[in-house]
């Protein structure tokens, strides 16, 4: 199977100007036809930037968002299919090239991130489908000399109203070519009441290939004459080789070459096993560099100290400081969250071919624009000369959007000068020790409760490294010197790019932030980004204020969201669906958390049981979500189940420890992740909505940790403020 796939990929990529580049009828939604695209075989018609139809009626969607489990490859064909009147399962997907017409309208570059894919595609892909259908109607109209009002489409075929004549889409392409039919300027999109695909539970488009092993991930790419590379890296992140001896490696059968690259020393061989053995046989003396003295204890201590000092004010509503000063019901807490690795199931890998006039990359990436820029700079070549082929990805969670393009750069450097493709697969140890993490954070919170038990003042100081400072995203994300990603999830009002707040109204609300210098490992986005730590600090401390005011934590949240109808309604639904008022029983606890991430409100109740050994189970999670129009309810449920599993595993065990510059954890035996026995039963309720669709990919990750911590408090009366929970002696079983 893979041999066939490998040769298909190589054929496609080694033959210049194949496929897209030979299109003759490209009339893009974003750009007009270029002369290059006017050369096209008659059997294929590019209806617009996104849709190609072959004469055998095969419909291909040029997919401009990555598939890494997020369901992008299902919702995209659903949107096109709805307007084009074909079954979505029949649409082929082909990754769109890294060109401006495929940039996300939100990010204005080629990037799949931020749980915005559904929203980004909603209008462009339906429009692409509708415009393609209109061209086919225009062609049929010429063919049968009938006004297009007298025609209709169904299942990939145009019919006359009386159904006496019909033509498949493929049959009509020659008329489009012969008559030079162009897309209409404007088309009407279907009214949602007429939807037959959108809004219906739809199974994953590429699932068949994922149950028989035929799905091609980056790690599965096989190219002619390809070499395999394995990299020896300095045990201290950022260190370099001072001296290395490759003589033993080069004696291993299959090892072809050993050379230094910026990440360390790479062994090139004709099999993975030879490359791994060759790496093991290297003798290397390292220059550990500036990070060798760093330990995470140092960071925690420094951040705790900083949390007591005034930071940059990110938000100041009312006068929290004075209000807390005057109150006689004040509480104060510090929450601490560790470094977290992403640990995608498919370890980072990339295949690269670099010749004098060509650089092609096969890389599972969320961020083609970024990788193209980084590699172009590295090689000193024009960006558009860097060709990126994007296979399926075995999970990402932010990892495959590294601004350093680290694993892609590794492979390009390894391949540079070789003239043949080189595939570098990271070992799991390289991945866990890879130095790209959710940064560690310390949050100090002070709050005051009024005589009625309502939160009167909130003062939170957030301390942790910025993700965006110093990157090309800084102008958009750094506001008054604060990284929005550090405080996203704490702010009560919208700020900068983020057009949503917590949904709560607390009359005095002050958020300060310290973004200490970016030294040591690289701070990175990790599923739900800022919310992965702000969610814990905010929702646990809100629970503390509820207790201090003698309020039920869910009723308090309902009371605080009167000004936010979407969340207010959602919380009332959650109260009902979780049987919140019903006593839960001995040794059990219930906890609530409610968050707004990337516009979508989401709330969860977690139910836990403690046993006598201090171990606990998470028995059930009831999740309510409002993500606007629910494009694919089955996919939404999957994202919520997955978001909860990802967040719960991290809350329970996730921690990367840095001692003397070295990462202690190395593989799944010491970087524990959620396993099947620990998976709670999950019940999802999606509220019906006519609002435009918004995301669900990261939303469910943020409430689960605080909901479980609050449930543990409910069961035991003890607050956990240092994460993961295992660090506080609470073991999830």
């Amino acid at each position: 199977m893979s041999k066939r796939i490998g040769s298909a990929i190589s054929r496609r990529s080694f033959v210049k100007s194949a496929g897209l580049a030979t299109g003759s009828l490209l009339v893009g939604i974003h750009i007009p036809a270029s002369s290059e695209q006017k050369r096209m075989p008659l059997q294929q018609t590019l209806m617009n930037s996104f849709i190609r139809i072959d004469s055998d009626s095969t419909i291909t969607l040029l997919a401009n968002h990555s598939e890494f489990g997020n369901g992008a490859y299902t919702i995209m064909p659903m949107m096109v299919a709805e307007e084009l009147d074909v079954p979505y399962e029949k649409i082929r997907l082909e990754p769109a090239p890294t060109r401006p017409e495929y940039y996300s309208p939100i990010f204005r570059e080629y990037l799949t991130a931020g749980s915005v894919t559904t929203g980004s595609c909603w209008i462009p892909l339906r429009t692409a489908g509708a415009k393609a259908r209109a061209m086919l109607l225009d062609a049929a109209s010429i063919k049968w000399d009938q006004p297009s009002e007298n025609l209709y489409t169904s299942d990939g075929t145009v019919f006359t109203k009386n159904s006496q004549q019909s033509a498949t889409y493929g049959d009509l392409l020659h008329i489009i070519h012969a008559d030079g039919i162009l897309p209409r300027e404007k088309v009407d999109l279907k009214d949602p009441s007429k939807f037959r695909i959108l809004g219906k539970p739809s199974r994953r488009h590429e699932a068949p290939s994922k149950v028989d092993g035929s799905a091609v991930f980056g790690i599965d790419i096989k190219l002619p004459d390809m070499l395999y590379g394995s990299i020896a890296r300095c045990p201290v992140y950022g260190g370099t080789a001072k001296h290395y001896d490759a003589s033993a490696s080069l004696k291993i059968p299959g090892v072809v070459k050993v050379k230094e690259i910026s990440a360390g020393v790479v062994v090139l061989a004709n099999s993975n096993w030879a490359a791994l053995k060759g790496r093991g046989a290297l003798k290397i003396e390292w220059n550990e560099g500036p990070n060798s003295s760093l330990s995470y204890d140092f960071f925690f201590q420094e951040y705790r100290d900083l949390a007591n000092k005034p930071g940059i004010v990110a938000e100041n509503i009312g006068d929290s400081i004075a209000s807390i000063e005057l109150s006689d019901n004040v509480i104060e807490s510090v929450y601490e969250m560790p470094y977290l690795a992403h640990a995608t199931m498919e370890p980072p890998n990339c295949t690269a071919l670099v010749t004098d006039d060509r650089c092609e990359i096969w890389s599972g990436t969320q961020s083609q624009s970024n990788d193209q820029k980084v590699v172009a700079k590295l090689l000193g070549r024009p960006e558009q000369s860097i060709i990126i082929h994007r296979p399926l990805m075995g999970g990402s969670f932010g990892r495959r959007a590294a601004k350093s393009a680290d694993f892609t750069v590794n492979s390009v450097e390894a391949a540079n000068g070789e003239g043949v493709p080189v595939q570098v697969i990271w070992s799991r140890e390289e991945d866990i020790k890879g130095g790209h993490y959710r940064p560690l954070f310390v949050h100090k919170l002070r709050g005051a409760v009024d005589d009625d038990g309502m939160p009167q003042a909130w003062h939170q100081t957030v301390v942790g490294q910025s993700i965006m400072d110093g990157t090309r995203f800084a102008p958009a994300f750094m506001v008054n010197g604060v990284d929005l990603y550090s405080v996203d999830g704490c702010l009560q009002e919208p700020l900068g790019l983020f057009r949503y707040g917590t949904s709560y109204q607390i009359p005095n609300h002050r958020i300060e932030c310290h973004n200490p210098p970016k030294i040591g490992v690289v701070p990175m986005e990790w599923r739900s980004v800022g919310h992965s730590h702000t969610g814990i600090a905010y929702e646990c401390f809100l629970d503390e204020l509820a207790a201090a005011g003698g309020k039920d934590p869910l009723d308090l949240r309902i009371a605080l969201t009167k000004g936010n109808p979407r969340m207010h309604k959602l919380l009332k639904l959650l109260k009902e669906k979780s049987n919140w008022v019903k006593p839960i029983g001995k040794n059990k606890g219930r906890g609530i958390a409610a968050r707004v991430y990337s516009v979508s409100p989401i709330a969860q109740v977690a139910e836990i049981t403690m046993n006598e050994n201090g171990e606990f189970t998470v028995d059930k999670v009831i999740c309510v979500v409002d993500c606007g129009f629910a494009v694919n309810p089955l996919g939404i449920e999957a994202q919520i189940e997955g978001g909860i599993a990802y967040g719960l595993g991290a809350a329970a065990f996730g921690e990367i420890e840095l001692h003397d510059g070295q990462i202690k954890q190395s593989n799944f035996h010491d970087y524990n992740v959620l396993r099947i026995a620990q998976m709670p039963e999950i019940e999802v309720h999606i509220v019906s909505s006519d609002e435009p669709p918004t995301g669900v990919g990261e939303q469910a990750t943020t409430p689960i940790a605080p909901a479980v911590a609050n449930a543990l408090f409910n069961a035991t009366g003890t607050r956990v403020r240092r994460f993961p929970l295992a660090k506080s002696g609470l073991k999830l079983v």
Binding site: A207, P208, I219, S271, M345, P347
Partner: protein, 157 residues
Amino acid sequence: MLTLDINGKKQPINSEPDTPLLWVLRDELALTGTKYGCGIAMCGACTVHMDGEPVRACAIPIEVLGNKKIVTIEHQKKDGLLSLVQEKWLEHDVAQCGYCQSGQIMSATALLNENPNPSDQQIEAAMSGNICRCGTYQRVRNAIRAASDTITENASL
């Protein structure tokens, strides 16, 4: 040169005898449905059957295999248990990123072959070595139960 019995076929193998089965399957035989995930038998992404038992291909050098029969996710036998499990996997829309799913399906198939009617605890025990970072576990359970129901129904006909 070694000969291995892979998916019902005798295959001459050029790889070095100490090579883990995982890399022989992937790099020499191009059976890339079996995945690398950890290299130390901790994640289950490389699960294959060895004489019907689920094993981690990353931790088995081919020199110890002898005549043992290896079955991978690519072994398509119509009406077989593997096909049934794959069908239930699709019905329950289990896969997300899909990377661990070959291993999950091979573990599930071995379980059902051994025990067509497993309890929830037996499902958890059999599947505990298979990590899924996308969190498809609830659907894995449901798909295994559904496959079990079909086997039980067919047996009682």
